[in-house]
């Protein structure tokens, strides 16, 4: 049995951050019902990122601009344990779907709102996206190219981080309710969730008044040298192969030198200790790269790991999804069967529980595909009433 079986989530989230949070809840057995707008063409959003985000969820197509659409949403909220959104503050309030309204319908309701900046404060109504939050919080500036120009993430880590933060918040609020019977409102600012992930740097600023420099490939944990990303030999069709190598202890260094075939340069006194290797790291990096350039990234990784040296291929999409032997061996990737009988792979569940493992079960739903179950079975609308709701434009078929 899945650990969250019996927990119902009314899900207003969209884009990425919110859907990541509810994906986690759905993977572990919560009944997540997405309340969405008008369906598009059949077969949409079954594969790719959308397929990834919405697997294991149900979907209803309800017109929130229609009074009877609102009525459906409110009745469903009253039968749910948790209502979650990632709008800015005013949207749920305008629908009277905010915590203060819903608590009248269901006293132990839990509402999680994952807005960009939170529900109070001068920027509460601002629109945000993952990349804007990354820019505002220092990630983009401090993730710099070798020439010092800002690069940042190529994607919205902020959305993924807000997603797992939101899922944890939901579970802790549910746990509190389980023990006390009391619900509550969680005001999650995606911006704050992200700032909370650069804690030691923030303390360095507040305690030591130190302006933060882009760390480049300096270790952000215990000191290490060599520590970096090194270009490797090209594959026939790919000249973008790299290997990360991290060396901390003296014995790791000695094992690295041996694995590289004990080259002449490695015996030089300026690389003798970690202190000296850190001091002379630019030169050290050039030497290490002169070796990795002669190796395939895969072979060098295997060679170094066999010698007990931390090393990892800079995996691209194909490496991750098809070649990585560890992810394959652990069965990380999930598979869903689509309505047309074909299959697609999706991101798996990164948590292995011995007794109640989460799982990938059903594909991303077509919008409105659970109308009958939700409106009929859960809310008790008769067939005639459901047809009437469609005719009035409160529900999309």
């Amino acid at each position: 049995m899945l650990p969250l079986a019996g927990i119902r989530v009314l899900d207003f989230t969209w884009v990425v951050a919110g859907p990541v949070a509810t994906r986690i809840l759905a993977d572990h057995g919560a009944e997540v019902i997405k309340l969405e707008r008008k369906p598009g063409p059949p077969g949409e959003r079954q594969r790719g990122l959308q397929g990834d985000l919405h697997r294991n969820k149900l979907s209803i197509a309800v017109n929130m601009a229609h009074p009877r659409g609102l009525e459906i949403a409110r009745r469903l909220a009253a039968k749910s344990d948790l209502v979650i959104d990632n709008f800015s503050a005013r949207v749920m309030r305008n629908w009277q779907m905010d915590y203060d309204s819903l608590v009248q319908l269901k006293p132990d309701i839990i509402c999680i709102s994952m807005s960009g900046f939170g529900h109070v404060g001068p920027r509460a109504s601002y629109v945000s996206y993952g990349p804007t939050l990354q820019a505002l919080s220092g990630f983009t500036l401090l993730m710099a190219e070798d020439n010092g120009e800002p690069a940042g993430f190529g994607y919205s880590y902020a959305d993924m981080a807000a997603g797992f933060t939101g899922a944890l918040a939901a579970l802790m609020a549910l746990w509190h309710r389980e023990r006390t019977g009391r619900g509550q409102f969680v005001d999650l600012s995606q911006f704050e969730a992200l700032v909370s992930l650069i804690g030691p740097a923030m303390l360095d600023i507040s305690v030591n008044q130190r302006a933060q420099e882009p760390p480049g490939y300096s270790s952000q944990e215990t000191p290490a040298a060599p520590h970096g990303v090194y270009r490797c030999r090209s594959l026939p069709d790919d000249n973008d192969r790299w290997l990360v190598i991290s060396v901390r202890s003296q014995s790791e260094w000695e094992r690295l030198v041996q694995a590289m075939g004990s080259p002449e340069w490695a015996r030089h006194p300026r690389f003798r200790t970690l202190f000296l290797r850190l001091q002379n790291r630019r030169e050290l990096d050039r030497h290490v790269e002169s070796w990795t350039m002669t190796q395939s990234a895969e072979d060098a990784m295997a060679l170094l790991q066999k010698a007990g040296v931390a090393a990892g291929l800079v995996s691209n999409g194909m490496d991750i999804c098809e070649r990585d032997p560890q992810l394959q061996a652990r069965g990380f990737w999930g598979t869903v069967t689509l309505p047309d009988g074909t299959q697609t792979k999706v991101t798996g569940v990164p948590i292995k529980m011995s007794a109640t493992p989460g799982s990938v079960r059903t594909p991303s739903p077509h919008i409105g595909s659970s109308n009958d179950y939700v409106l009929g079975e859960l809310l008790g609308y008769s067939d005639a009433e459901r047809h009437q709701l469609i005719a009035e434009g409160a529900v999309w078929p």
Partner: protein
Amino acid sequence: MFDAGALSGLRVLDLADYRAHLCGRLLADMGADVIKVEPPTGDSARRIGPYVNDTPHPDRSLFFWFYNLNKRSLTLDLMDPEGREILLALAKSADLIIESSQAGKLDVLGLDWSTLHGINPALILLSITPFGQTGPYRNYQADDTVLTALSGMLYVNGSPGQRPVRPLGLQAYHSAAYYGAIAVMCALFARERQGEGQWIDVSMQEAATAAVEHVAGSFFGERRIEPRRGTLHWSRYFRVGKCRDGYILHCTLGDWTSLVEWVAADGKARDLTAPEWHDVLYRAEHAPHLFDVLDDWVRDYNRDELVERAQALRLPYATVRAPEELFDDEQLKARGYFVEVEHPELGRTFRYPGAPYQFSGTPWRVYRRPPLVGEHTAEILRNEVGFTPDRVRALARAGII
């Protein structure tokens, strides 16, 4: 009136090394009693900088402080049989043990799952390790940078052909810590129904892989290997631009009419006034040209002036800020994000980053500053294991605590 913390009553033994410290911290912030079990010489995180005033000292590591706020500290030598006995005594009344040792090491110490489950069937064991407990890499070595490489977090940042740019701030570890805490909550719900704890195996590689937005979706959806695109976001709606005094982030998802009128009024619109640019998908398709034109437009602006005017038009532009600027951020201030934590032995309070979420009924809280080495050892052994003061003193003399 607030309730006690959402996790109050939960007893956690945190054996993890610094790679997984955040997990226990997340639970402690919400009221769990998290006992950090560290060797008598102190946790290795205490030897990671930065330090207060740059003076290395085991009780002044800011790295340690951030990850161990709200925990208690018990020093215990787990290499010693008596130390392990004390741990097992504590495990009898614990709800959760968090550990991050290399796969198989718990067996060697006699602290493996079957032993722990035998003495306390309700206990949950959370193992957070670089590659998990199974598979060909289970004994491979990794730090956060290696894990960003093997999860796809790294490859897609930076410019084509150039060195990939590493994520800031140990995000592979952080992803695993959050997924670990999520797993613990799931296991608590399962325990409510089934009465028994279970063993959770979190692989940092997998957690980090699940924290990448687009790489797997593009590959499984279209067999596209996501490339590095410079500062162009993979959605093609965002790119960094350079103003006179700093950087901004362009965003072409806002109201196009407002944006293009403004750019045209500055005489910099070039071909952007053509009607096809109103189509958001067209803007994505022709993003490089679009952003080149916009880069030329913002060149002579001051960063803050540009973004302020953009926000007034509800265009979601953003300044590319240094983290130092966050302490003056009006939004964070208005929400009371930063918190003061008193360190009496240093005679000072320090400003910490605060809550990632605001709970109305069971708020995130500072219960206690990060512990000094072994600060709560005597209190825990006397009150919770039932040792006499003499026995505690003898253990200290023997170097076990």
